[in-house]
Amino acid sequence: MPTAFLTDSTICIGCKACEVACKEWNDVPGDGFNFTGFSYDNTAGLGHSTWRHVKFVERGDGQRLDGDAGYRSNVFRWDFSSDVCKHCANAGCLEACPTGSIVRTEFGSVFIQPDVCNGCGYCIVACPFGVVDRRPGDGRAFKCTFCYDRQKAGLEPACATACPTESIQFGDLDDLRERAAHRIAELNRRGITDATLYDGRGTSVGGTHAIFIFRGRPEEYNLPPAPEVPTVHLRKGWTSAAIAAGLMLIGTAVAFLSGSQQAD
């Protein structure tokens, strides 16, 4: 049964419990102590040492806030959204991995086997979301495991368990897609018309196992509006290569034939 995350940013309070729970369960190393000055976000993004990451988006710089601030506002808001590996249906990292380290699990998630990974880094450039990252000093690539070990034991992923507001929901992919559609409709009904479902469907990643509800455009959360798995260009690439090869062959033949005529 494919499992999934639904991260509903409209009820995320930005507490970062998911980040910490993930690191504690998976024994992920620290990020270092870097003050970014970017709102309350000091872990900056997903990487080899951050597999859940809460974004802090401040909106409304320079606007008058009185009476129009808070979650209903379209003028001044502070949006929080917990990002994670998308576990794509067509996973660029998996397709690029030459060693077979990256596999698809029985839960539908994408898993890097650390004992197989040789640190070649092909998966890093192949990820349309910039999720996979190589750990300096170790060399191997790391990302969210979807708590494969916990799922095997019948537990929910650590981040979903820790979330105090149930902003991170875990469950069956189809159920969560349905729940997300209801939620968007409900938000629209309440006048929150900028709520978006971000689930990678209709793009070449073929849908994701981590789906998101947030307000505004994907770019505002540092997410690609139309993620693309690099291998979609393969057919075109091979076609072009084949055409080029054919043309070259023809060219060579023409050159050869015409050359031999001249030689005559």
Binding site: F33, N34, N42, A69, G70, F80
Partner: protein, 839 residues
């Protein structure tokens, strides 16, 4: 609330998703504001004006819950003729004694029907007990005007008193535009009435002011007027600062109370004999009429067989209050080097970072002979002699400090058995998950074995001073290689027992005043009613109020004063908001919660002449702890700064008080001294900015539990100062640069975090900038920063002696120092001299 109580905030989010309107009033736009429907940024220290205007809005528009107000509050009661309000005396109440700088509250009393004066009150005790001193406890019979028309009834005084708290005043004083205020007041009142309720949540953003108690009083008046007390979805919820801070008030770590809010005896006042002490505090009517049962049972719990009627149950062994023994009282004494306090135990606290005027507090510790610190990490308090900023600056020289410091490793909550009492008074057990590492032990272990050794020492010394220690029962079971205390034994002692057979009592109604029962804390009685029946371990909730999960004191009542959820005749105010009601057939109170009322007392019960204690409370008076059973819109005594709230500016304010001539709370004590100086107020040109302090989700209080863990420390790795883009531009401090923040007490540096979430306010026609500083940082741990509490003054609110750390003034300026702050920067800023003017 989202910042500091993210798990509790889960329920706020659930309520919002079910249609509740969430309103947030805060100087800063925080994670709570982000989740709220409405946000009002107000100038720090003006909450009493905002709330006062809410009260005025209710009264001016006739929005009060009239039936509730008339029947369940003291709004209809007449006040003495010689009372004078702040309206008449421009900011002071009658009874002001300028020479002693205190009030005598006689004129605040209610008019007596029989023309008798209330019996003379007893002098002051602390602010946390059931009596706070100066209460007219023997009020005979009051006069009520149910029409609320009499000019001297509380309701009419209230109307006049709050009439100047207008939306325009809110705009001028708080900086909240009048239309924003009105829309908030409208929303709040719309959600109040027979069918609806609204709740108020607050934390130290309200308490840590020189008018802290009166701010919360204003909220209480508002909620009583709207009928939001004792009803589901209503109330005023004090969000406590840590797990079980509520527990540490119930079974106190405070100097002025004994367990269960019994007042600590005061030397030379109420304390000569047990009989006098009981006479002072045993109210003739109301539930406190059972006071003697609770104090005698407590003495029996502590002194066992040695507590006998012929020695007043050992009452003479209890300590007496003989001065200001609050944290600030004894710490200032330490700072003076009087030598009266030779040694100090610091447990579960890091005052070198977490206490106001931390500079003074750190230096004071050098005057101790010995200091014991128990903590999970070697905190800044434990190493004040080694690496404090004072040592760095040369104000303290390590080799000259004679203090002997003992550091003991402490166990964390997951390493010990015990229970927590939360904001909702819910007591929940927790079990040890792992053994503490190495020599780390729980606080209970430490205190138990310390007590055991002290008792062994005292047993060899027959001097009378040791009599109490020799009499003290201390026979808990300890087992295992670590001699671990059986913490269950303590909870059983708290629950109470019958002395003769040692059987646990079923609840506090089973306690007696003749020494036949013992009970460590009467309000907790019933928590462990039988062997093997520890109710804090219950985990099978049922019904909308979660009965069956833990135990909510008293008597597992989930909502206090819940008799108020029914009409005077005992039927619910509405189907939607029903909670408890009178079942006429069964002739008892019943409902969805444990009734907070005598179970078989009918709604039409009228006390016979001469009735005492609970029997003197009528069947339609829900506030059973009060002598008249009424909710206190008016407080006739017991508060040091007035029967009604009045707005005074903070000790340090940028502006004059526009509400009254009187600038600051006249009774509050700023503890002015050369090492605790103040800026001029109002409007010190050297300190033009308003400062407030707070906590972040990512860190825990003084940081010992979070700055030492990389997974938490990395989330907020440096001390920052939140300031608006406008202020940042005017002082030339771009985002991420280093700014210096100075007050008369100290100077610190922090990263500038420039954000539109901070915004300048227009106050009395001019722009006032506010800045915010989280106070988690200190000199040790994985992430370090300056101590924000170096900036704060030690001061005492008059009722509970809390300091004013949520509203003061400062100067913020860009510095030439390069970042980053932690461990790699120029010389520390020097604190300013003590030449500043005091209020």
């Amino acid at each position: 609330m989202a910042e500091n109580h993210p798990v509790g905030f889960r329920w706020v989010i659930k309520a919002r998703e079910r249609g509740a309107t969430i309103i947030h009033v805060d100087p800063r736009f925080t994670r709570t504001s982000a989740m709220s429907d409405m946000w009002a940024p107000l100038r720090a220290g003006t909450d009493s004006v905002f709330l006062g205007a809410m009260v005025n809005y209710v009264l001016a528009n006739g929005l009060e819950f009239r039936d509730y107000v008339v029947h369940y509050t003291n709004a209809s009661v007449l006040v003495r003729e010689d009372f004078r309000d702040t309206e008449d005396l421009d900011g002071l109440f009658s009874g002001w004694n300028e020479a002693e700088r205190k009030y005598s509250p006689e004129t605040w009393a209610f008019e007596d029907a029989e023309g008798e004066a209330a019996e003379p009150s007893h002098p002051a005790s602390g602010g946390h007990g059931k009596d706070r001193g100066d209460e007219p406890a023997r009020q005979r019979k009051t006069v009520r005007d149910p029409s609320l028309q009499h000019p001297r009834c509380v309701y009419q005084i209230l109307r006049r008193h709050f009439s100047r708290y207008t939306p325009a005043m809110v705009e001028e004083v708080c900086g909240v535009p009048a239309d924003t205020f009105v829309s908030i007041a409208e929303a709040f009142c719309r959600e109040s009435g027979p069918d609806r309720t609204a709740a108020i949540c607050y934390a130290v953003g309200w308490t840590q002011h020189s008018v802290g108690v009166q701010i919360i009083r204003t909220a209480a008046i508002l909620q009583l007027l709207l009928g939001n007390i004792g009803r589901p979805g209503g109330g005023i919820l004090a969000l406590r600062g840590h797990a079980s801070i509520q527990g540490s008030t119930d079974i106190p770590t405070l100097y002025d109370i004994l367990p269960g809010y019994l007042p600590m005896p005061v030397f030379g006042s109420d304390s000569r004999t047990l009989e006098k002490y009981v006479r002072c505090h045993q109210a003739p009517s109301g539930w406190w009429g059972h006071f003697d049962r609770y104090i005698v049972s407590l003495l029996k719990a502590w002194y066992g067989d040695a507590a006998r009627p012929d020695n007043q149950f050992g009452f003479g062994w209890l300590p007496r209050i003989s001065g200001d023994h609050s944290h600030f009282g004894y710490w200032l004494d330490m700072a003076d080097g009087t030598g009266r306090l030779e040694g100090l135990f610091v447990m579960g606290q890091n005052p070198a970072v977490g206490a106001p005027n931390a500079r003074l507090e750190r230096r004071a510790m050098a005057n101790l002979k010995w200091l014991v610190v128990r903590d999970m990490v070697e905190s800044e308090t434990a190493t004040f002699w080694l690496d404090s900023p004072e040592v760095e600056r040369g104000e303290l020289i390590t080799s000259e400090i004679a203090t002997e410091v003992f550091f003991f490793p402490a166990a964390a909550h997951a390493e010990k058995n015990g229970c927590f009492t939360n904001t909702q008074r819910l007591i929940q057990s927790h079990d040890r998950a792992v053994d503490p590492p190495g020599d780390a032990r729980s606080d209970a272990w430490f205190v138990y074995h310390l007590g055991r050794r002290l008792k062994a020492k005292a047993a060899r010394d027959e001097r009378p001073r040791n009599a109490g220690l020799n009499a003290l029962t201390w026979n808990y079971q300890a087992s295992g290689p670590a001699h671990r205390l059986e913490i269950d034994e303590v909870l059983k002692e708290i629950n109470g027992k019958t002395v003769a057979d040692g059987k646990q009592v079923s609840g506090y109604t089973a306690l007696a005043a003749d020494g036949s029962t013992s009970c460590g804390c009467w309000i907790y009685s019933g928590v462990y009613p039988a062997p093997g029946h520890n109710r804090t371990r219950e985990r099978y909730p049922s019904g909308p109020y979660g009965h069956g999960w833990g135990f909510a004191w008293p008597a597992d009542r989930r909502i206090l004063y819940n008799r108020a959820s029914a009409r005077p005749d005992g039927t619910p105010w509405s189907e939607r908001k029903k909670l408890v009601w009178w079942d006429a057939n069964a002739k008892q109170w019943t409902g969805l919660d444990t009734p907070d009322f005598t179970k078989d007392k009918p709604p039409d019960y009228a006390p016979p002449t001469g009735a005492r204690a609970d029997a003197a409370i009528p069947g339609d008076a829900p506030f059973i702890m009060h002598p008249d059973g009424l909710g206190r819109i008016w407080v006739p005594g017991g508060l040091k700064d007035g029967p009604l709230p009045a707005h005074y500016e903070p000790f340090e304010s940028p502006v004059p008080n526009r509400v009254y001539q009187q600038q600051i709370n006249p009774v509050a004590d700023p503890k002015v001294r050369p090492d605790n100086p103040y800026a001029q107020s109002p409007g010190d040109p050297k300190y033009p900015h308003v400062l407030t302090t707070y906590r972040l989700t990512e860190h825990h209080t003084a940081g010992g539990m979070s700055r030492t863990l990389s997974h938490l420390a990395e989330l907020q790795p440096e001390l920052f100062c939140e300031l608006s883009p406008e202020l940042a531009e005017s002082i030339g401090a771009p985002n991420g640069s280093i700014v210096a923040i100075t007050t008369p007490r100290g100077a610190i540096e922090a990263r500038a975090l420039v954000t539109p979430r901070m915004r300048p306010l227009t106050i009395q026609g001019r722009i006032v900038h506010q800045v915010g500083l989280p106070y988690h940082f200190g000199g040790r741990g994985l992430v370090r920063g300056d101590v924000v509490n170096d900036l704060i003054a030690i001061s005492e609110e008059p009722n509970v002696r809390i300091m004013e750390s949520k509203a003061l003034v400062c100067r913020v300026e860009a510095t030439a120092n390069p970042g980053p702050g932690a461990g790699n920067r120029g010389p520390r800023p020097q604190p300013p001299g003590a030449d500043d003017v005091v209020p």
